[in-house]
Homo-oligomer: 308 residues x 4
């Protein structure tokens, strides 16, 4: 069945830690560059199609980015009764925009990404991701430090989606994972406002990030609901969290979710529906215990760095 | 944060396919051998502790084997009202036995593994897995071809757990994934009998195994309920299936599961409880669609081989 | 000294055998394709610059191809008193041509490569290799099976350079390593004719190729002089052989070689001179013994295949 | 030819640099430990047998250690007319001792290795290397900083062999590669004294070490003769240097070397003889030019660090 013609000699090795790696055979390096903030690669992998890689770590792949982006966006959007103004931190691929724009209530989306090189590369090379979202008249794109922007604005947003890379030393993201930042985010939310973010892997050896982000969110929001999805190209199960001033989406029935989707989201979703919702918010016992047991609160002067 | 002292130069590379790999830094090769059926390695990895590896593929790791074995055993055991006689196909680590023996109704467990070398190596080197289960007076261990045994016996079993490696060409397992085998298994089940099995990864590039096993089970059982768990050391999300003559555990409430556990299972579970149950049986929309769309039925003369 | 900014996640892994590999960090995949005969990659590596890779094995790199090509071409050319007609088997990069054309006596070079895709890719992407050699009016290029050509021609050549990839099953080269082929080559040589070829690594675990090629040449030529050069990008030391009707270049003094070079070769060589000549023909005792001890003769119906 | 049974999943990856690696399939980790100075591994590789690995870098392998140790020891020993007292810096495997003790003139060898854990591990696990040399009554073994020892002693040695790992930051060796150290070594040599040392790879991307060691030796010795050998398990060609107060072994004929060997060395050498001698001292033109062009002198306060 597997002959020598299957052999692969060009690889992208995603170092999950100094002692764990996930390797993808590749056919092409579509783009490679170094911005002011990070190294950017767009690769064509054999198993997962095109991939965006920042500082050596996969951000999303053609085959399963829909899982990541639907999981990240829709629960938060549906948690707000009528989201009109949405703020996106990061989200360079444009797929977070794409999913937000499916919500018919949306009037304005401000996306703030610190790295215009990433966005330009994605616009050119990831059309399957953004599907033209950057051209939607509801979208405003700014290349800024999102934290600085939020500090200086007095605008309020109904939903804030934080779609950034992991907190690595000298990387652009680690100050967007702290108590101070989350409190700032809370201040900029409208009354029924909700945020969602990716929170790192839920794999035991690295669980510290997921659990510390959870406890840190709890120090800034009354309701925090962590959840999980399998995005196979990442090589490890992945965690998310939703935090809000009021709404707890774990209480919704499958039918209620399906009803909200049919009322408020345009087009057919591939990953997210009522049963998916129930599944991703039903974390296994060991994860629930680890979340509860965590004591660490991430602060500006005690940041959490992950392995690069 | 990561200094050169973190560097790792001894690796176990789990080739998930010719173009995907999951690498684990290792400290020790505790055991290595070649049986009549396969190559056996027991390794100490840096991230996941001790690991059993058969023909180069990880079977379970110290850190997260509890997820695999609790997910595999308990839903099936609880699906039967009063399981007394249990049959285990494979299960060399002894951890499947360990979980079965927690059920107070159990009177007899017959474990049939084709490879005595695997079992001997596990007995010696994986005490954290079996925790003495092989010595339990309710356990009978035979080194046979499980299919041949089932063909020749006229005994009936309340629960049958199929805990075997993946179907690879020339490997010991591929004839235990066919319609003919599943029908034989069904014949040997008692009235309310249930089976459970691991069914390969649910990652898109390899989904064929999970979906074809599902359809093949449907050709032999009236009720088939696929489910999924994240076992991080595997590098990919993992699929299971439960098949029975009657019971559908997806209809149970969280509370009902928790009640069954407290009544029938001794000791504290780490992974499985009511919420976990709900989560693992709530497959995402894309997986549910792929399961339904699959046409392939695996047969003895049309086996499905995975990559070695 | 080495910071995370040195980290490399895009790799070309050259599998020297199932249990030995040489990995090169890469920046770009300049070209990738599949011809009728083999898979072709042109990669930009971090350590060795641009590389030509056929069927996953490095053929030459920008940084040290001069060693390979000077070692292959000049000893054979200088072994003939006045080489006018030269035949090249393979040599897709054009660098073998480049070195041959430096010899002022040369009037005509026929290069026969079976794979026009390789040559086209090299013409476009390896200008540092061929340096325009394909445009030299003395050069004739044909895309043919070199063995078939030699069987059908009655022309004679003064020097024949065999610059082909290794003998792998189903690959284009294995019938160009046999006694029958070498006898054919001998028949097409003019009176003082000489041939040179690369003969695989001289590393102990794979020495069979080098030693068997040597013994096979001895079955077809009166004088055979094996030699060796270090081409670091190959990851292993490399063997060559020169075979002729009469001349034994190992008897030349350093001064004689330097004199021949200054008289007959245009431009400055980077690798080859009198002292280099003495070094590369002075094989270590263990290699000399292994060459002598080898019994294997490679024949058409008993070909030698190396690992792919 | 290569079936799945050849597949290898346990590897030692020797990182030659952040962007170059040499991988060896392994069967066993015979020993692993951490001394006060470095991490120590003794591995059984598939291609090269048992290997000693310090801080992740191969030091020698069962299959080709004879090349390394014969190349390191014999030219220096033969450069002295009658070596009685020999000093070894490092040399943990005991194979340098083994080769020195073959010289019938030797009366006393003092080996000073900073790391007793390495020596103990080698004594136990590398009997094929030392062959009992540590038990020879002429041998004295001390666990000290060799530089400190030489500073404090007033003894003189006929030959000094420096057999140490590469100069890496925080490693035990980098102060044994400086001008100050080499001058100290010169001071402790008897009148016709000679030293030999391994000087790192001669591969172009890393040539700085070899060429800077050469220039640094020239700042301390009147005669310095660099040389090179192929030790395939290292993955790259390897450099050595001999430095002496007077003798230049490059002027010796092959016959003279063979005569010296037969007179002064007991037993049969596998690698080194007259022709080997001629070969290894005849460096290619490009290396000779690079050696001459190098300006760098390594000093205590300007050490040279290689990649770890």
């Amino acid at each position: 069945m597997n002959t020598s013609s299957d052999k692969c000699w060009k690889w992208f090795i995603d170092y999950l830690s100094p002692s764990e790696s996930h390797g993808h055979g590749i056919n092409a390096i579509v783009y490679t560059g170094k911005s002011d903030f990070q190294k950017i690669d767009i690769l064509d992998s054999k198993g997962y199609g095109r991939c965006l890689v920042l500082d050596g770590k996969i951000q999303s792949s053609e085959i399963d980015e829909f899982i990541y982006h639907e999981a990240l966006v829709h629960p938060a959007m549906l948690s707000h009764p009528n989201p009109k103004n949405v703020f996106v931190v990061g989200g360079g691929e444009g797929a977070t925009l794409r999913e937000i724009l499916r919500h018919s209530s949306v009037e304005h989306v401000l996306m703030v990404d610190i790295d215009s090189d990433v966005v330009e590369a994605c616009k050119t090379h990831l059309p399957q991701w953004h599907m033209g979202a950057f051209e939607d008249p509801r979208v405003e794109l700014q290349f800024l430090d999102a934290r600085k922007y939020l500090e200086e604005t007095n605008k309020q947003y109904d939903v804030i989606i934080i779609d950034i890379s992991e907190p690595v030393e000298e990387g652009p993201a680690y100050l967007l994972y702290t108590k101070e930042f989350y409190r700032l985010v809370n201040d900029r939310l409208s009354e029924s406002g909700t945020i969602a973010l990716q929170a790192g892997t839920t794999a035991s050896p690295y669980l510290i990030n997921f659990t510390a982000v959870y406890q840190t969110l709890l120090s800034a929001f009354p309701v925090v609901t962590p959840y999980q999805a399998s995005i196979p190209s990442f090589g490890l199960p992945w965690g998310f969290a939703l935090a809000s001033k009021a709404t707890d989406p774990t209480t919704w029935s499958c039918e209620a979710v399906d009803h909200l989707i049919s009322e408020r989201i345009q087009g057919e979703l591939k990953y997210y529906d009522g049963i998916t919702h129930r599944g991703q918010f039903s974390l296994p016992k060991n994860l629930r215990h680890a979340l509860k047991a965590e004591k660490r609160i991430i602060e500006d002067n005690q940041p959490l760095y992950l392995y690069v």
